[in-house]
């Protein structure tokens, strides 16, 4: 099969999924009396604004990191549902640790990132250790660990570390950990962006974590597809028995894969932390679960996940404009996200089968050719 055909097959599936989602959403919109063309028009017009692009990128950044975290485990057939708990815990501990120290900028940022990654790695690694030593399925353990993190550890620690709180007249104000010094915050990318575009509206910031996310994507690709470790990881995912006799230590791989997945998960909260400088009592939650959807949509491929994150971010950001323009209820974006995922799963399976058939055919043909020559 030619490389071109391969590419066509690879792109056909997500394109079909998005197309199917568009048709389905259009039908739903028509059904509830909205004009889909107006709705899509509003979404696109809104998205074409520079400020909205910044919103999309800001939203896509943590989604992407979360997707990569999930994908790392996926590549080994491990289902890390625990990104949610890992990232919240890492976010909180990193925010607190970062507020305690004052260091030169580069060191301060590095310190915060290392703390976040370590906490995420340790928390996900715990699920790996449970699986290896006690045979606890990681799906079960990460779900439990999520609950423990969100309702237990984070709730308790944020009380311990809370700064601010109700000040003055007894009305609420910013609540969360103490703010991190300016030196600990990644600078925004407005300067870079404004070089190629116009000035952003004041108050808009393109998160610097975007660069970090891109680095994570590249490292993910190299680690998984280019290193021996990545080979071991994928081999274990393809066939754990074959990997084992091939010299891959299964227990170590499980713990390592979970830990690395958790380390990346630890970075999910950095987009919010680097912008606000503290862990609030109401952090944005659900990114860990959204990462599963994004990884699924992106087929665990670093570029695919980026597309998935951008599509989800675009839809998330569109919900506001649809409401204000009155073109459609905001729920339509959630429906579109759901339909895209479902359609993608189906389309990928179909493309996968098509590819298998094609390969089996070409292998059989090679066999017959060889016979015919003999």
């Amino acid at each position: 099969m030619s490389a071109l055909r391969r590419l066509v097959l690879a792109l056909a599936a997500p394109a079909a999924a998005v197309g199917f989602a568009l048709v389905t959403s259009s039908l739903i919109l028509l059904l509830i009396g909205s004009n889909p063309l107006v709705a899509y028009g509003d979404m696109l017009e809104h998205a074409s604004k520079l400020e909205t692009l910044v919103d999309i990128l800001n939203r896509a950044t943590p989604l992407y990191v979360s997707g990569i975290a999930v994908a790392i485990a996926f590549r080994m057939n491990l289902f890390n549902i625990g990104v949610e708990g890992q990232f919240l815990l890492a976010f909180l501990v990193a925010a607190h640790a970062g507020s305690l120290v004052s260091l030169p900028a580069a060191l301060h940022i590095a310190f915060i990132l290392v703390v976040a990654m370590s906490v995420g790695a340790a928390y996900a690694g715990a699920a790996g250790v449970l699986k290896v030593t006690r045979g606890v399925n990681e799906v079960i353990s990460t779900i439990m660990l999520n609950a423990i993190a969100v309702s237990g550890l984070v709730a308790w620690l944020i009380k311990e570390w809370q700064a601010g709180g109700s000040i003055g007249t007894g009305t609420t104000t910013r609540v969360g950990t103490a703010p991190i010094d300016e030196s600990g915050l990644l600078p925004d990318l407005n300067g870079v962006l404004e070089l190629v575009t116009r000035d952003l509206r004041p108050g808009k910031e393109l998160t610097g974590v975007l660069v970090l996310a891109l680095v994570v994507g590249v490292v993910y690709h190299v680690l998984v597809n280019r290193t021996v470790f990545g080979f071991d990881l994928r081999a274990s995912g393809f066939n754990p028995f074959a990997a084992r006799v091939g010299g891959v230590p299964p227990k170590r791989m499980i713990i390592l894969a979970m830990s690395i997945s958790g380390a990346v998960a630890g970075l999910v909260g950095m987009a919010e932390l680097m912008q606000s400088g503290y862990f609030p009592s109401n952090p944005i939650q659900g990114l860990g679960y959204a990462g599963i959807a994004v990884a699924l949509l992106g087929r665990n491929h670093p570029v695919g996940i980026a597309f998935g994150a951008l599509i989800f971010a675009f839809l998330d950001v569109s919900s506001g404009v649809l409401q204000f323009s009155g073109a459609a209820p905001r729920e339509i974006v959630v429906i579109m996200q759901g339909v895209i995922i479902l359609a993608a799963v189906v389309a990928y399976e179909m493309a996968h089968r098509a590819r298998n058939r094609e390969e089996a055919r070409s292998a059989a043909a090679a066999l017959h050719e060889a016979r015919a020559e003999a």
Binding site: G168, T171, T173, R174, G203, I340
Partner: protein
């Protein structure tokens, strides 16, 4: 009491449609060129509580003042609050944000849009980092309530009506900036003002950042039943959607034991909003007049009297209060009005921290 926080389910979740209505109802009487962008907290219209109170306020403003308005509510994870405020500011003179979680975004978007007025419910919109603290902006108003004062009165009502000498309090989420603790503090102080020896059982459903406590009627029911078993005969909740569980528990307990127990509602007059089957167990409700605040903010915008920083809605302006629907507390109304007068004239200062109540 409001946030219906939901973890963003993987998007495959089945979606129920809540057709969020759009567009403003044209006022019948007056007309005005003021247009308002109303941004609800997560969950939007139809929460039978906080957001609906705001909706009632804006609709009254549309009818009486002739303004137009557009509504929106954030994504389920609250990730696009700032974007919504900006979109609101793009097309409206006044943007009203329902809930203190908008504070940071409102300050930022307000600064970027100096021509637009902003009003945030439940936040004073004062920058405490400045010395001395000052409003975030001239046109950024914070509308806050003295929930502790209203809670004091229903606490007093509970103590006056209790026959067992034990009452209960169920908070939705602990640690949301001390917000729910204010309700608890007022309630305890009010109960103790009547009966210094009263026993008060107090429990929260979840702790931040787990916001499930605002939408967990089953857990509220379990807690309430345990409180009734523990001798309480009146329980007050400050737990948003979870409150339904409290009233169910009151019915269950009353029918099982033969001795009537009560629940106390919050935010709106819950006697009128609960399932009719449990109506007779709603002793009273602590009223938090979000609708009044929204209406007044619109009016101030029209009059040009909107001020930056905190505007307080307390007992003195009927921003908080208690309901009398059902007539269950008519016998103690006199006593309650006495407490109310004492709070208004400053004789009683209601604490905001439960440890000082």
């Amino acid at each position: 009491m409001r946030k219906k926080w939901k973890a963003l389910l993987p998007a495959m979740a089945v979606i129920a449609f809540a057709a969020a209505g759009c567009g403003g109802d044209e006022g019948s009487g007056a007309s005005s060129d003021v247009s308002v962008g109303l941004v609800y907290d997560i969950g939007g219209r139809g929460d039978q509580s906080f957001n609906d109170a705001a909706a009632a306020g804006i609709e009254r403003a549309a009818a009486e003042l002739g303004i137009t308005f557009t509504e929106a509510s954030p994504n389920d994870d609250g990730s696009n609050r700032g974007e919504l405020l900006q979109l609101g500011a793009d097309a409206h003179n006044l943007v009203i944000a329902v809930g203190f979680l908008f504070e940071g975004d409102a300050a930022k978007v307000g600064a970027a849009n100096p021509e637009t007025s902003f009003a945030v419910i439940d936040s004073s919109m004062i920058d405490w980092a400045q010395d001395p603290p000052a409003p975030y902006g001239e046109k950024i108003a914070g509308l806050v309530f003295a929930e502790q004062q209203g809670s004091f009165l229903v606490g007093a009502a509970a103590a006056l009506k209790s026959t067992t000498g034990t009452v209960g309090f169920i908070g939705g989420v602990r640690g949301v900036g001390g917000l729910i603790e204010k309700f608890e503090a007022g309630y305890i102080a009010g109960a103790k003002a009547v009966n210094p020896d009263i026993k008060i059982l107090s429990e929260y459903i979840t702790e931040a950042p787990n916001f499930d406590g605002f939408n967990a009627p089953d857990r509220a029911k379990d807690i309430a039943l345990a409180m009734y078993e523990g001798g309480a005969d009146i329980v007050y909740h400050a737990a948003g959607g979870s409150g339904a569980g409290l009233f169910e528990a009151a019915k269950t307990q009353s029918e099982a034991s033969g001795a009537k127990v009560w629940g106390i509602g919050v935010d709106s007059d819950q006697y009128n909003t609960v399932d009719p089957a449990v109506q007779e167990y709603v002793l009273t409700s602590m009223l938090k007049r979000v609708d009044v605040a929204v209406f007044e903010a619109v009016k101030a915008q029209i009059d040009g009297t909107l001020v930056g920083g905190e505007t307080r809605y307390d007992l003195a302006v009927d921003g908080v209060g208690y309901s009398t629907s059902g007539g269950f507390i008519d016998d103690i109304a006199e006593k309650l009005e006495e407490f109310k007068a004492q709070i208004i004239d400053g004789t009683i200062v209601v604490p905001t921290d439960p440890t000082q109540a």
